[in-house]
């Protein structure tokens, strides 16, 4: 029943083969200028040199506390704000250059926003919102509407009941399903979910997460899943990236990052999760204070003012993102041999 009318094979566009990352981000930087009086120009270092790959068919979870640069990274990836420097390769082709102009990139990469209401035009019916993308990309009106209805059915909304409704007439969970359908209407390969389930009730959230997993399998999608909820990230992600103050603290397979975190910040994040076991309640905050001001980030490792392992060297040397064990890469001097940190492992690990 829920067959999407003629669309190309999702794997047909695959150029570089399965081993080539779908999206490769290197040295991504975004500084926002702040105007304060007449003093020297200051900037908020929202994203300050971020590198990561998104593999084909995987779900990369991005976690971190508020203000760590998750959403800015998302907007940079989608081109909603312009990056200062840094390269982005989509399936091996540089985004924004002749081989992969933004327009054709956007047809292959779509985004689902956190606020399900704000991301739907209140003056358009659900069906019109979904059909808008295909229409502006040359799909005839009638066909676009049919595709919208098929997608509505696919995300679990009966087209007869929902196609003609306006966003304020449906529930939050239903709206987010509409947003997912809208993102899928252009048959993307990469879907970026920016806190897409964070505003939903727990039961609805679970349904939408399962829907996302089904859709991913059916359409051969790759997800970037941004969330502050570690349980959700653990459930949906293949790999996890932890961000702190505009930088990557740790990245690796989700089992390894979330079960045996190497970075003190990841450890603190995990420890601060409320436990379901009443005998094992979190008693004290492991992470004191707020993250430092991104206008004036601390020198060296950005986490060192809050870190339990901090030593003198942490305030001077900026830790590179280096592999500590198979697949796990960590930006922490205490984990890197020869860094000068007293807790650093003695021998060099095989990368």
């Amino acid at each position: 029943m829920s067959v999407i009318p003629p669309g190309p094979d999702p794997f047909a566009a695959d150029r570089g083969g399965p081993a080539q990352p779908l999206l490769s981000v290197s040295g991504l930087v975004k500084h926002f200028p702040v105007r304060k009086g007449t003093g020297p120009k200051k900037v908020v270092r929202a994203v300050d040199g971020v590198n990561f790959d998104v593999l084909k068919g995987e779900t990369l979870g991005i976690v971190g506390e508020s203000g760590c640069g998750k959403s800015t990274t998302a907007k940079l990836i989608m081109g909603l704000i312009e990056r200062d420097t840094g390269g982005m390769l989509f399936d091996g082709q540089a985004i924004g250059e002749r081989a992969m102009p933004w327009r054709s990139y956007r047809r292959q990469a779509q985004m689902v926003f956190q606020d399900s209401y704000a991301s739907l035009n209140p003056r358009m019916t659900v069906e019109q919102s979904i059909a808008f993308g295909p229409k502006v990309n040359g799909v005839p009106g009638r066909e676009a509407v049919e595709r919208a209805r098929a997608l509505l059915a696919r995300v679990g909304l009966e087209p007869k009941r929902f196609a003609g409704r306006y966003p304020h007439e449906i529930s939050g969970g239903q709206r987010q399903r509409v947003n997912i359908a809208r993102a899928l209407a252009l048959e993307p390969r990469l879907v970026l979910l920016d806190e897409a389930v964070s505003a939903l009730d727990k039961s609805v959230e679970a349904q939408v997460l399962n829907l996302l997993l089904d859709l991913k399998a059916e359409f051969g999608l790759t997800y970037i899943f941004i969330s502050h909820d570690l349980n959700v990230v653990r459930f949906i992600s293949d790999r996890v990236m932890v961000m702190y103050l505009g930088r990557v603290a740790e990245i690796g397979p989700s089992d390894s990052v979330l079960a045996a975190p190497a970075h003190p910040y990841t450890q603190a994040l995990l420890a601060s999760m409320p436990s379901l076991d009443p005998d094992n309640r979190t008693q004290k905050a492991l992470l004191a204070g707020d993250p430092p001001n991104p206008i004036d980030p601390p020198g060296g490792c950005r986490f060192h003012p809050r870190c339990a392992l901090a030593e003198g060297v942490c305030g001077q040397v900026e830790p590179p993102l280096e592999p500590v064990r198979a697949g796990n890469r960590v930006a922490c001097l205490a984990r890197q041999p020869g860094s000068g940190h007293s807790a650093a492992p003695a021998e060099v690990l095989a990368a």
């Binding site: 327009r103 704000a118 739907l120 035009n121 003056r123 502006v136 003609g164 306006y166 007439e169 809208r182």
Partner: protein, 307 residues
């Protein structure tokens, strides 16, 4: 309302007939404008104002055929008859012309001078404001600071100055009144557009690859046209009063053409002789402009639907 809306609803009906496994109809929502209309009909004040406006429009259209007497034919013997005269129901003016006929025919020019500048300014001002609001940055700064220059002058003074510079006449009055209203409407359009341009659905539309023009036409226009329209309807009364003022000063309509503002001017000498007749054009201006104001007020509250 806009083209894509109707296109989709047509497609919706068409598909209904085509689908054999569709025993139940698609649930069609009333939509925003449907709700507004529904609420407006239930507002007695707005409806009364709307009726007054419709009656005046009907009189304006039909006036050449329904005036009881020739509005241009005067009689030196029957000047300034009082209201309630057997022949001249609402009296006669300083040249002995029938007041009721002149008021009826005068509604044409008065309405025209009230509505036309606002209509032109609605189109131009919305265009400038939406462009400035959507594009932002330097475009916004240049457009809006230019607009701000016009705000330095009181609107009455600006209208008189422009009219005076361009010379008397209906066309020049409309041009000068349009110049008065464009900045005001552009300012409202810009602020409403700026308010929605950071919304996620605009970002989502950008991500779909739509051009800026398509986004403005399909995604922005539908969300900003309501408030701009309400504001514009409230300007109709101002426009009528300003146009009357211009005519009163001899910068607008020329005699013997009947126009409420001009009539007020020529009758002012009779204010001690026959004050009621002299006040009649003013009453007409007041009645119509307050109707436009009340109607736009009703429209505004009808559009305050919780989203």
């Amino acid at each position: 309302m806009t083209a894509p809306l109707t296109a989709a609803s047509v497609a919706l009906d068409g598909n209904l007939a085509a689908a054999p496994d569709a025993p139940e109809a698609f649930v069609a929502s009333r939509g925003f404008w449907g709700h507004v209309g529904h609420r407006l009909v239930r507002d007695p004040v707005a409806m009364a104002a709307g009726v007054v406006i419709l009656v005046v429009i009907a009189i304006a259209i039909l006036s050449p055929w329904i005036t009881p007497m020739d509005p241009y034919k005067g009689s030196m013997l029957r000047r300034l008859k009082p209201v309630g005269d057997a022949t001249y129901w609402l009296g006669s003016d300083e040249l002995g012309r029938d007041m009721i006929s002149r008021l009826m025919l005068g509604s044409r020019l008065s309405l025209f001078m009230g509505v036309t500048p606002v209509l032109i300014a609605f189109v131009l001002g919305s265009g400038i404001g939406i462009l400035a609001g959507y594009v932002g940055g330097w475009t916004n700064t240049i457009l809006m600071r230019t607009i701000d220059v016009f705000f330095a002058f009181p609107s009455v003074l600006l209208a008189i100055a422009l009219s005076g510079a361009l010379g008397a006449g209906i066309f020049n009055s409309i041009v000068s009144l349009t110049c008065v209203f464009v900045p005001q409407i552009a300012r409202v359009a810009e602020s409403v557009t700026t308010g929605i341009r950071r919304r996620d659905y605009i970002d989502a539309a950008k991500l779909s690859g739509a051009s800026a023009f398509t986004i403005m036409r399909v995604q922005v226009l539908g969300n900003v046209v309501g408030p701009i329209f309400v504001y514009s309807t409230s300007l109709i009364s101002v426009s009528m009063i300003l146009a009357s003022g211009l005519s009163f000063l001899g910068l607008g309509v020329r005699p013997p053409e009947p126009e409420w503002g001009l009539m007020l001017n020529t009758l002012r000498t009779a204010i001690y002789v026959n004050p009621l007749v002299a006040a009649l054009p003013g009453v007409a201006i007041f009645l119509v402009s307050i109707s436009f104001n009340l109607f736009s007020d009703g429209l505004r509250s009808a559009m305050e639907i919780r989203q």
